[in-house]
Symmetry: C2
DNA sequence: TAAAAAAAGTGTGTTTTAAACACTTTAAAA
DNA sequence: TTTTAAAGTGTTTAAAACACACTTTTTTTA
């Protein structure tokens, strides 16, 4: 057996582009960079890079994400592979889009300046190069679906959070208002949060109890057939 | 601006592999071929091909599907891109998996022999080459989810079908028994089927009414905010 | 020609889940 | 001491999901 079977086939460049979501001030945000190279220099874009021969796609995405945020354990999921023939005017290149969720307070923000990157409210993000707008659209749709069926929302929050923060997060993701009591009742019935003895005093005089996601409990419940449904 | 920006980046082979589902005799089936070339000659595999420079991924999948089935309008959806570094022992090649749903009675079955391909019950399909088993697993999971939230099941049935066939189809997809009355009540409440004056006599003495998916009605209901939920 | 067999067809009651809804508590600031 | 701003807390109603069994039709067979 030789490698010659495939020798007549075309090879292509494969980009990995990341939609990085964050959450702050009751708003869903995405992290964008201003390109400092051609084509489309100066325009806003998702962060990305090209797949190297010796790595798989997840590794490429982790590399790209780490480079921009300094973070190592980022929630991240492959979204879709975009392949329009002329999507990149410079050369035939496909792009595998990943979306990532990070706690916006937790990354090394000094890295952002070096890359001239910036957090935007999702709602008023600028136009992006190539097909990156479509990638963002699609990632939001995925996030909306997934947030209802898996406990991934916590990735966007600090370890300790108030119920109000949690509710505002889901409102931002789902782009609709939720009823406070129904939301809390629902989450309580899931029984996967730990109520701490600590209060967050930053947003009110009275103070609000802090909660934590009980990942161990969640995992063991899942093993017993439980499934997160909001 | 030149093309030289990307000139140091690695290029890779990109395969497109298709999981083709069918439905017959109350069983969910997949179409496999026996490879007639190295590597892994003689082993069972998904059908696939390599992406060409001048086509996008959907076009490549359509090409591959048409070649094997003779069909042109196949329901088809991109699933996931598999990228383990050594997934193909012959060369660094990634694979974009697509899954497709076809009416098993409707393809040109003379093409199958030429490619030494064969329908298998999903349950007792043979081991496949490379990472194709994982592709099949993932496609089934996607099909199960999607069949509950989009009316794609009809793609696996002839235009006219009985309620029993429809129920057996969903039972095969979801891998669980459903209650006949609840199933019919549910579908009736969706109000997207046309009951024909015709009966199918093939499976009983009494005969069973044939139904048709009313795609126009479905589309117009969707525009009014309806969404298919089984 | 009556009985058996095999699939088609059809509704209701119960339980669970979703949704609507408003007042009280707390603590700081005025 | 009154005002203010957010936190916290249950109940009622409506809708959806689920469990559940007999009758009809027609062919086959005894």
């Amino acid at each position: 057996m030789t490698l010659s079977n495939y020798s007549n086939e075309d090879k292509v460049l494969l980009a990995v582009d990341c939609i990085i979501f964050g959450f702050d001030k009751e708003e869903l945000k995405i992290l964008l960079i201003q390109r400092d190279f051609e084509p489309e220099k100066g325009k806003w874009s998702l962060i990305g890079g090209f797949l190297k021969k010796e790595e798989n796609l997840d590794e490429a995405a982790i590399r790209v994400l780490h480079h921009l945020t300094g973070l190592n354990d980022i929630y991240m999921e492959q979204l879709y592979t975009f392949s329009k023939v002329d999507r990149d005017p410079a050369d035939r290149a496909l792009s595998v889009a990943y979306y990532a969720l990070i706690d916006i307070k937790n990354h090394d923000s000094s890295l952002l300046k070096r890359e001239s990157s910036k957090w935007f409210n999702l709602k008023d993000a600028p136009n992006l190069i190539f097909d990156h707008n479509r990638m963002v659209e699609r990632s939001l749709a995925r996030l909306q679906r997934k947030a209802l069926s898996k406990p991934i929302g916590f990735e966007l929050l600090p370890t300790k959070f108030t119920m109000r923060q949690l509710q505002k997060l889901y409102e931002a993701i789902l782009e609709k208002k939720l009823d406070k009591r129904n939301f809390i009742n629902k989450f309580n019935s899931l029984d996967i949060l730990i109520k701490l003895d600590e209060k967050d005093m930053s947003s009110s005089k009275k103070g609000a109890y802090l909660f934590q996601f009980d990942e161990e409990k969640y995992n063991s419940k899942v093993e017993d057939g439980f499934s997160f449904k909001l």
